[in-house]
Amino acid sequence: MTTRTPEPQENGLVIVPARYLGRWIAAVAVVGILLMLIYSMFANERFHWDVVGEYLFAAPVMAGLGRTLMLTAISMLIGIVLGIVVAVCRLSANPILSTAAWAYSWFFRGTPLMVQLLFWFFLAALIPNIGLGIPFGPQLLSIDTNSVISPFTAALLGLSLNEGAYMGEIVRSGIRSIAAGQTEAAKAIGMSRLQTMRRVILPQAMRVIIPPTGNETIGMLKYTSLVIVIGYSELLTSVSIIYSRNFQTIPLLIVAAIWYLAVTAVLSVGQYFVERHFERGFTPIKGKKPAAPAASATGPVTGPTPAPSIEPELEPSK
């Protein structure tokens, strides 16, 4: 957006930037509608902004928010780790591993999350004891299922296992986006499969993996409200408990929405920085001529100081 007056070029000609009248009209219209919306919301008494203010930082709301954040963070963490494992298994040459990974994705993507949550919660009714032992052989260890499956663990199991299935597909598409030449180059310098995955493939695949993972995290933030069905209370449950008592439904839902929006904003900022980190080396579009970045501005790390400029003139060093 340059608004300076056009200066004559060397050849005496003046460059007049193109003007886009349509863009200006659209911009004015959008800003106008937005202002009207905001005004009508704040001027409308039935929104009860005083109640919103009253409950925004109320202790039960804060506690609910805390649990939402914890559930989101832990479920996503487990989901991502599971996703990487599932993706690697899916792409493995071992047919049993890849089929198992496929079946896992199929099952957990194919059933409603709410059913999965209820299933985990009622696990105790189905399988009263969780045992560790040899199939058809002796039992080595046995625990009462009820003692391990609390609403929290059921919520965590349900959310993270479901997430793992989706993350598996995301990670797999990321891995597949990396050209085979990268794996070959890594192999050719003697890297093991694990080293290749960790040092070469995944860091590059991250560029493809991060944006949908951001989506998943923001989705998870809101999916956590499903755990209401198994009696775990998070942000939305907390406000619903309050409005069922004082009937201030809309203001309390606004309280929840404000927090969801705030957390989403923070997550988006975080995503920006994570994306920027993995953009390392990719930012300049592959061009014929190097853009000569400020490489020589900072001195070399260690080792022999390179001569200021050694151009493609070759002297065998030995």
Binding site: I189, P290, S309, P316, S317
Partner: protein
């Protein structure tokens, strides 16, 4: 002590029913620069990839510096090596690809020290010092902090050569290292390879650069249809080929 650096005996390779290598027998002596010529699809790349076990040979035997590639012999049985054991064998063979295949998320120096630090577990400081020396050797010491996307094709290929050299290989494989380059960038890469040959490195070079084969090559092998058709000195094979298939190929390339 006359063990050749590479000994391939009756090497065969099939993909499904298609036999790509039909029994290649070839030796490369220490310090030799062997150039591999042949029409497209004749199996040159496949042969190179078999040498460092990126491809498993279907039949025959192959040794690098006396080490059998991909297998361990016990009695009259050949035991296939595990993935991580072949990974170690690969480190003694450097490979340079047509498409460079540098790691785009690492700088030139980081590309070079990746093998020494991660595979050979050298200290980072030592690897960096040696890496800078190698970059200097390929004329890119001042570009050590550049990412591959900030380098020209010729510069990327020189970094790729430095990366392969960083593992101190006994044998260097080049698969058409200049074919993806703009004509004006070919020279700088060939120069690096020439000086590498002069330093005594054993090299197998798949190339269409007849000038390089003639001036730097010690032997030229001509391959067609998965077979070694003719081998000899560059002068003999390139200027006075005996086999009709070699003659036909050269007349097309040199036309």
């Amino acid at each position: 002590m006359n063990e050749p650096v590479l000994r391939a005996h009756n090497v065969r390779k099939s993909f499904g029913h298609l036999e790509i290598l039909k029994g290649i027998t070839l030796e490369v002596q220490a310090g030799q620069v062997a150039c591999l010529l042949g029409p497209s699809g004749s199996g040159k790349s496949t042969f190179l990839r078999c040498i460092n076990h990126l491809e498993k040979i279907s039949d025959g035997e192959m040794w690098v510096h006396g080490d059998r590639i991909g297998y361990r012999r016990a009695g009259n049985k050949l035991h296939e090596l595990k993935e991580n054991e072949t990974a170690k064998q690969r480190a003694s063979v450097g490979m340079v690809f047509q498409q460079f295949n540098l790691f785009p998320h690492r700088t030139a120096l980081e590309n070079v020290i990746e093998g020494p630090t991660i595979v050979q577990r050298k200290s980072r400081a030592k690897a960096m010092a040696e890496g800078m020396e190698l970059l200097d050797r390929v004329g890119l010491a001042d570009k050590y902090q550049h990412y591959p996307s900030q380098l020209s094709g010729g510069q990327q290929q020189r970094v790729a050569i430095a990366r392969a050299l960083a593992l101190k290989p006994k044998l260097m494989l080049f698969d058409e290292p200049t074919s993806a380059l703009d004509p004006e960038l070919v020279g700088e890469v060939l120069e690096v390879m020439t000086s590498l040959a002069a330093s005594g490195m054993t090299m197998i070079v798949v190339t269409h650069e007849m000038g390089f084969a003639k001036e730097v090559g010690d032997v030229v092998h001509f391959m067609a249809d998965g077979q070694l058709v003719e081998s000899g000195s560059p002068r003999q094979v390139l200027e006075d080929p005996r086999e009709p298939r070699t003659q036909a190929f050269l007349s097309k390339v040199l036309a």
